[in-house]
Symmetry: C2
């Protein structure tokens, strides 16, 4: 853990109170001058930290930037997800950065954020617009001991984590659209892109790419997206602090990933099913050139959607473009 991370943990731990320089110096095992130097650096990043000769330091406000040391301080209890966090000012695609890390044998749990992406992408190579500092664009490296067929479980986990974090941080309750979209009042606010590298019966690694539209105003979306996309700010009616939301998502992801690795996917699936607006609906699912129509009945053990077709057959659907039917 870096000195900045430990200072921020101490300052946050004090709430609206002060932490004395002497106390910090003792806790961190460095001089008071060294602490002062770090405080100055944090101030330059936008952290508003009051300093009083008699009382010490107090955290007044934090800037809306993604700072790896601060994100680490917010997820210090996590077991796997976010034990290594890296922030880029701009990348082509955070999934591509994590793919390279995966091939360099970096441990699972590393999370890469970018303040903006020049080539962010969604499913099937579709473009994902990622303007600077307006949203969360990040990717998580996992190495689950699962068959490739069970990879949908991770998409379900990610969607459920997004659901809970958005609800808890913004107060707005979103919906999950199978398999990987989060909607508010029918408009998309977040999505998950799951990419995997596998042998036939074994996942080598899996990357969850997550995009959340946080602080765009309606007019900051391209005209063609305004009817189908929205932001948390637009729906909650206030600016959302991105680092808090990011930390909440990583905490929820970590909790549910632990459930999956302990083979307790059923619990996650139950919760997911309660929030999923796709279950119980008549749906049309486009998979390549083919369209499956029917009634979305449930999620199976692997996270696949079970659809009762018009011919009465139960089809197991792994992915595709879902449209709700009247």
């Amino acid at each position: 853990m870096t000195t900045d991370t430990r200072i921020l943990i101490a300052l946050r731990g004090a709430g609206t109170g002060f932490v004395s320089g002497a106390e910090l110096s003792q806790q961190l095992g460095i001089t008071r001058a060294a602490i002062w130097a770090r405080i100055e650096e944090l101030r330059k990043l936008g952290y508003d930290i009051a300093a009083s000769p008699h009382q010490g330091y107090r955290l007044i406000s934090v800037p809306d930037v993604l700072h790896a040391d601060d994100l680490l301080s917010l997820v210090q209890g996590n077991k796997v997800v976010g034990r290594d966090i890296r922030v880029f000012e701009e990348t082509a695609s955070t999934n591509d950065v994590v793919e390279k890390l995966a091939r360099d044998r970096v441990k699972e749990g590393v999370v890469v954020f970018a303040e903006s992406q020049s080539k962010g992408r969604g499913r099937l190579g579709r473009k994902w617009i990622s303007p600077p500092r307006k949203g969360l664009w990040f990717s998580v490296l996992l190495r689950p001991n699962l068959r490739p067929q069970a990879a949908t479980q991770l998409t379900v986990v990610a969607a459920t984590a997004l659901f809970r974090a958005i609800r808890d941080v913004t107060g707005v309750t979103p919906e999950i659209k199978w398999p990987n979209d989060i909607l508010i009042k029918g408009r998309k606010v977040a999505g998950v892109l799951t990419e995997l590298s596998a042998e036939l019966d074994h996942i080598n690694h899996l990357i969850l790419g997550i995009g959340v539209d946080v602080n765009q105003t309606a007019t900051e979306f391209p005209p063609e997206l305004r009817k189908t996309a929205t932001s948390l700010k637009a729906e909650a009616g206030r600016h959302i602090h991105r680092a808090d939301l990011a930390a909440a998502i990583l905490r929820e992801l970590d909790r549910d990933y632990a459930r999956i690795t302990s083979l307790d996917f059923a619990k996650v699936a139950d919760e997911w099913q309660q929030q999923c607006t796709t279950i119980g609906q008549r749906v049309a699912i486009q998979i390549g050139d083919r369209v499956i129509q029917g009634h979305a009945e449930a999620l199976d053990d692997d996270g696949a959607l079970l659809v009762r077709t018009q011919y009465g057959r139960l089809e197991r659907v792994i992915g595709g473009d879902v449209t709700l039917q009247k």
Copy 2:
């Protein structure tokens, strides 16, 4: 097509006869001096080419080396597999080389051979021993329009292609052991490692890694493998020309890949099923910590093995370590 490739096609086309320098010069649109220079280079590589002032050039023998231009001349009719061939003297793993090419957006069909691999691998990260010039170690990049669940089809295609090429080139009829091994009299002579990069419902790219033990003598295998592994030379009782075998495999692969992309997997599966010694047997299949025991009944549409368990249930198995039971 390179000049060397075209010269070798012309020489092979003449069989035991001569091709005149004038004819070659006209066909290739280069001077007779330039052709002479290329012939000299081919001779340096080990090609035995007779030159007669009156009759021209004649191919007497070819060396047992893998030469990209020559391999290209042998698979000139292929549509996808082998339209781009690259040969390395040594690599860590040909699958890794092809993985990098895939990420650089190289077109499907590229084949990378190595005369030896320092870190050749089999399924689940197991070591694959790849001594210099003794076998074929190569990888093929494909971008099939298939769901990840159907990737087993490609393993089946590769095993079937290996079966036919080995039978036709050596005269020895091997067996296919599901999903990815080729045996002769119960001992392994070749294997396929299928690795894929995918979204949940879409394969980005797939790499077939193929290893064939060709010209090792029994004592050239490590002692611990001698009971379970063999080479084509040991079984056929003669040296096998590796380039001929490589070309035969690539031709068969190309043919069956065309069948798959035209959605005619059933034909491949039928042929596979006839050669597969696993079907109709009592089997135990180890998948991670779990063992499935039962009767191997058939291959399904995706290439998965259907096993009737002792409890009467039909299990769909994607991969694993198969042991035949008495």
